[in-house]
Symmetry: C2
Subunit: 249 residues, 2 copies
DNA sequence: AAATTATTGTCTCAATTTGTGACAATGACA
DNA sequence: TGTCATTGTCACAAATTGAGACAATAATTT
């Protein structure tokens, strides 16, 4: 019974979704001093791609994206930011799409709307790495973390999308409190600095960074964190709840 | 003959364009120390709107926009920047759209694709005010400059779009050399400062501004500009041709 | 021809911010 | 007790920015 229902997969239908409109999500997490993103790997194809989806006809764009990313990460509260819309004709790669669908047991007739040209609105999400359970193959794909900078080859223009996402994140780093969204509630100054370094792609000076951040008066200091390492234990910090303000490095 | 052909207007057809996808353009110009934008006023309706259009099926999004804005401004080289995509369901206002079309002599049956929901990709353009001829009512609308801050009420969410455009322009002011695109080739230091002030929405200090800009070494100094006014004549400047660099105030 | 007026280009000094290194204070472990 | 790596802070130098002063200068007026 279960097998039968597995085989009778249902493709997203055109009556429910806007044709030619899709979204892609670059979901950032921070772990082991690396910036990582979530990638799908399609079964039996070796193709990697950003998680994405379609826009429901009666639904706000933001909400469609939000629901889609929530489904993939299991998180109910997300920091989501739209950063660019990709609309070149050359984006479409019906060959890949067909291969993916067929590798998953679908029969796709020629001219199917999924094989057509799509305009894709791209979002990035900043999430706390540890909050996501790496359980998540929804429907027919598995999903895993990959360090930015060590990404496998991606489908279509997805490498470019990640590129633009990073540039955009860098640009908004100061206004979006990236640290707050990429780190657990309590964190050390060093962790925060690493987030900044990895996003900006450059080393920062420890003392200057610390002075600057503390000077902004957006952090609360908590107890020390004893890790068992043979050296002074750092304080833990959290963002003050009202710290929506700027944070410019 | 001419009248007959005028009456036989042709609506954009669905076979040529992507359904549910549109673009809107916020076209900035600088004149009389004011930042202005181009608005359409639809005949017999009193409705104001941003210039916009649809995306041709076989054409890159950027190109569709570029062609559309070129047609409206008569400019062949444009500084165009995509800044946000608006996708709420509530954007649609089929009532207005129908009124506009009917006021222009079209017969629009219910359920026509133009009355449907649209995702709109918004761009802003920076152009030299004096280069645009204010001749331009294309097809059925007249187009004119309005000072930002003194805009009439706009259709749909267009006021919000202008808002976001301004915020985005402000954010990118330093990397996009707004001055280069909003001013004529030769300009005075005061004019450049006014561009910055009007975009940033704050007064800047003359001496600091001058020192900063000159320090960036992106301007070339030319002859003085004698205006007939009873005071020292300012120098004219132009951007060095390779000045694609940053310009942070 | 000299005084007037509004604006411009440049300089100076103070105030602020940032760069750079020094240094004592720790936790764990040998 | 001493060693080690790392942290929190401070102190001073260097660079940037704020704020005003001031002479230079096109027209116009006296």
């Amino acid at each position: 019974m279960r097998v039968a229902s597995m085989n009778k997969k249902i493709l997203p239908s055109l009556t429910d979704h806007l044709p030619h409109v899709a979204y892609d999500a670059v979901i950032f997490g921070f772990s082991g001093s690396q910036l990582k993103i979530l990638l799908l790997e399609y079964h039996n194809t070796g193709l990697f791609a950003l998680p994405g989806g379609f826009v429901s006809r009666g639904e706000d764009l933001d909400l469609s994206v939000s629901r889609g990313v929530q489904a993939r990460t299991g998180l109910d509260k997300l920091f989501l930011e739209q950063f660019y819309t990709f609309g070149d004709v050359g984006r479409a790669s019906p060959g890949h799409m067909k291969r993916i669908l067929e590798a998953n047991g679908y029969v796709v007739e020629q001219g199917h709307w999924l094989l057509d040209r799509f305009i894709s609105i791209a979002y990035y999400a900043l999430i706390n790495y540890d909050d996501v359970k790496p359980e998540p193959d929804s429907l027919s794909d598995s999903i895993n973390w990959y360090a930015v900078g060590e990404l496998p080859q991606l489908m279509m223009d997805h490498t470019k999308i990640v590129d633009v996402a990073l540039r955009s994140l860098r640009l908004h780093l100061d206004t979006h409190l990236a640290g707050r969204n990429l780190l657990p509630r309590k964190f050390t100054m060093r962790q925060l600095q690493q987030v900044y370094e990895v996003i900006l792609g450059e080393k920062l000076r420890r003392t200057t960074f610390q002075r600057k951040i503390l000077g902004l008066d957006i952090l609360e200091r908590h107890e020390k964190q004893f890790t068992g390492k043979p050296h002074k234990a750092p304080y833990l910090y959290s963002f003050k709840s009202h710290a929506t303000d700027y944070l410019s490095i």
